[in-house]
Point group: C2
Chain length 269, copies 2
């Protein structure tokens, strides 16, 4: 998918919501456990209930990997289902990968070609030659961790290199890499005070923003300095949408939660 | 596995070699492609030919993930084969994972419980609460990226926070985390000049050292400042051992290469 297609979808749906498909069998409605593939059954129901409200889905790969081969089969079915039925929707493999050059190419092929995701999250610690192999794939996006929403995000990311915090150095440096226009950045909603400085460095790139909802971030605070001419934000919510209910009405309730967030987004169009 | 068991094995075998099982179907002997599971057939042959020379095996997970469900099946068979036949050998899932707390726990379960690896490599960028979930597993080791062997390793890792390079800050900070004695660190052989400073900060921890062989690092240079009272090093070699030949004699030739490295290690016992 290219950036224009994503922007067109955002403007058409008046939404910049991303739904995190972080499927935990201990949290899904128990009646689904009788299904042949409970993870896929759950995802399919959530997708059917929310696809007109959201512009992106983001499975966190850890949740699938935790179920071994069955988990990978469920992930494969989920991405195929999305790509066949809703090709306009942007898909994010939240994998936080990153390795030396030839190895990153392996990860890129796995997620961009075999699984056919539109994008993947990548950790920056190993630098340029661990990220550029992902950027080499045309019409695929690499979403670099910049400032994460967790408490430990403050351990290293804001430490100052001279006058510049590490996460800003990551933003600045990554802009010089080949195909940098295919970058997006993870910036947690729990740190809205940083968005102003981030937008000075990357005014045009999309930011993937986790941390709304269960983690306590505020949509309004993020939008204040985060939004740009293309909207430029993908606001992720996982648990508060997908686990809105564990009863038979779970899909309907997840739609209700997604609808609430989408309604808050109307003000920005 | 606990640390004493690893040290005992190292002293018994007079080896601190780790063999990287980075299986690329385009590089393995072509006659193996006729096997039902070529990846596992290759790994089994390499393991049979080298298990008395090495103290650890390290599959890089990217290579398995790249083959989708078949790759995961081959990884599962490989780790089961190792754990059944050579339980004394230390196993490393070179996965470079790391995510927010509850998600890291998922990855830890996948690699420590389901696949039953002894250790996993983890990226530090997301800080304490992304690493401690791995450290919570008893008798399992978390191998934190400190100073990597690739060119991009210099993009952020040596940048100075005040007087201290980032990778040293990572070492210092991680020592304060719960169960820090279960940490090991990745330090590339391509940066031997840094080992002295690293050993001042972490005199007792094991260091996993990639970059010998194909990447150009020198065993002697690394040992000069890297070795400690327990040896404290795992020297990884992948390509130069496992791809020593693409003929029918590939396993024998891989043994020959492993033997050469092991012989160089004799001097340190």
């Amino acid at each position: 998918m290219n950036k224009d297609t994503l922007i067109t979808q955002i403007k058409k749906k008046k939404s910049f919501l991303c739904i995190g498909l972080d499927v935990d069998l201990a949290k899904i409605p128990p009646h689904l456990l009788a299904e042949e593939d409970p993870i896929f059954a759950f995802n399919k129901a959530i997708i059917e209930a929310t696809h007109d409200l959201t512009v992106a889905y983001k499975p966190n790969i850890a949740f699938y990997e935790a179920y071994g081969i069955k988990g990978w089969q469920a992930l494969d079915k989920t991405i195929k289902y999305l790509n066949s039925n809703y090709p306009e929707i942007f898909t994010i493999a939240d994998a936080k990968r990153g390795d030396i050059g030839n190895t990153s190419t392996r990860y890129a092929k796995a997620f961009f070609e075999d699984l056919a995701f539109d994008s993947i999250t990548v950790a920056p610690y190993m630098g340029k030659d661990s990220v550029e192999p992902f950027l080499a794939f045309k019409d695929k996006f690499t979403i670099l961790l910049a400032l994460t929403s967790n408490v430990g995000g403050l351990d290293f990311q804001p430490l100052k290199i001279g006058e510049t915090p590490l996460y800003q150095n990551v933003l600045e440096t990554s802009k010089t890499w080949t195909n940098a226009e295919q970058l997006m950045y993870v910036v947690g909603a729990t740190r809205p005070e940083y968005f102003k400085a981030i937008r000075k460095i990357v005014p045009d790139h999309f930011l993937l923003v986790p941390g709304i909802g269960a983690q306590g971030g505020s949509l309004e605070e993020v939008c204040k300095h985060g939004i740009n001419k293309d909207i430029g934000l993908l606001i992720n919510s996982s648990r508060s949408i997908i686990y809105a209910s564990t009863e038979k009405d779970f899909a309907e309730k997840s739609r209700h939660e997604a609808q609430k967030l989408k309604q808050q987004m109307q003000a920005y169009f």
